[in-house]
């Protein structure tokens, strides 16, 4: 489990987190959402030890990431958004870094490259952007770490690759793994991410599972715009209204509408979900 307690973090003069507390539980695929610049990437860097908190603490299964102990590092992988353009093949790259990860499986790497349809013979700098992202994803997943952090993993993937991405991530997930996916492309990860974490400047607005969300919030698809809705949006064929779930009805989370509803009613929804 990842525990973040009273965390403060700033880059020089820019405050990113102020006294935030948050937990990530095992066996889940978390979706990390938030507007540009709220610190999604920074949060991922803090939990994998690439950044150090200025105040408060971050622990992962009792380890302090910023101490960068080998026992901790061998069980964590962070895949950044920017892709590397090394003059080497993904195969050579994974053989080089695989030695540091006890559960690394070269057979799995080959299987994933095949499943994701990446040309094995090409070097990183010969692959297209999307192919590079998929090759790096295959590398990351073949290390089989319990903690896998993915920063905007679907950017640049073509439509069939996005479906493949959902399949391989679903396959990766077990009772012992914690996957955190930071993304703006919520449609790409719909039905894959659960729970959802919504970050705001200095704050965490939501950390809830779909079951917890639909218990409190109702997503109504209908012909009209409702006045008491947190948020309303026109969809083809009608409106989606995001409402308090006063009558305990079941509905399907529309992540985009949820995100917009939270952004428009920060304090109300934050208190509602407590």
């Amino acid at each position: 489990m990842i525990k973040i307690n009273n965390l403060d973090f700033a880059y020089k003069n820019t405050q990113v987190f102020k006294n935030i507390s948050l937990e990530f539980k095992k066996g889940n695929i978390y979706g990390l959402l938030g507007e540009n610049g709220v610190g999604k990437t920074t949060l991922l860097k803090l939990v994998c030890g690439l950044q150090q908190p200025q105040y408060g603490c971050v622990t992962v299964d009792g380890y302090t990431p910023s101490l960068r102990q080998p026992d901790f590092l061998q069980n964590v992988y962070f895949l950044p958004e920017e892709v590397i353009t090394e003059d080497t093949t993904p195969e050579k790259f994974i053989q080089k870094i695989g030695v540091f990860y006890p559960r690394y499986d070269f057979g799995l790497f080959n299987k994933l490259m095949k499943e994701l349809e990446v040309d094995l013979s090409k070097k990183f700098n010969e692959l297209s952007h999307g192919q590079k992202k998929k090759a790096l994803l295959a590398c990351a997943m073949s290390l089989q770490t319990d903690y896998l952090f993915l920063d905007e993993p679907t950017n640049g993937l073509d439509i069939p690759s996005k479906a493949l991405f959902r399949k391989v991530i679903s396959q990766y997930c077990s009772d012992e793994t914690t996957v955190i996916i930071s993304t703006h492309q919520v449609k790409d990860v719909e039905n894959l991410i659960d729970p959802i974490v919504i970050l705001d400047r200095d704050d965490v607005l939501m950390n809830a599972s779909f079951a917890e969300i639909t218990d409190k919030i109702y997503f109504e698809y209908g012909p009209e715009r409702l006045q008491d809705a947190y948020y309303t949006e026109m969809l083809p064929g009608g409106y989606i209204n995001v409402l308090p779930n006063t009558e305990h009805l079941e509905s399907n989370v529309n992540i985009e509408a949820l995100f917009n509803a939270v952004m428009k009613n920060k304090e109300t929804i934050k208190n509602l979900m407590k």
Binding site: G27, I29, K167, S170, Q171, N191, L192, D194, F210
Partner: protein, 118 residues
């Protein structure tokens, strides 16, 4: 599988498994694919599939056996059909009545059409 936006995904997965039982793909006493396998096939979160399976278990459509996993219950088909019939009578039929009233269709006309349909 295409999910629609309105119904909770776990309920759509529940319906999906029911359809596969009705079609005979999963037969009584047979092992159903695991939560993991179905999650991969559909590209959805395994926890969501688990929620669907819990409901299937609650409705006694599937059950667990140690060492086997989930299997289809003896009278699963009957249970699914009677549940679907109940849903149809309670949800779809009133909608249908509303429409024939709106369009001024007489029940005799419907009766005639139903005879020909048979």
């Amino acid at each position: 599988m295409d999910f629609n936006g309105h119904k909770p995904i776990y309920l759509q997965i529940y319906d999906h498994v029911c359809e596969r039982i009705l079609s005979g793909e999963f037969r009584s006493g047979d092992r159903v694919m695991s939560v993991r396998e179905l999650g991969i096939e559909l590209g959805v979160n395994p926890n969501t599939v688990m929620r669907a399976f819990e409901r299937l278990q609650m409705k006694e459509i599937i059950a667990t056996k140690r060492g086997i996993g989930f299997y289809v219950c003896e009278d699963a088909k009957d249970k699914i059909l009677s549940e679907q019939k109940k849903d149809f009578m309670e949800m779809e039929l009133p909608e249908f009545f509303k429409k024939i009233k709106l369009y001024g269709i007489k029940i005799e006309e419907i009766n005639e059409l139903y005879k020909n349909f048979e």
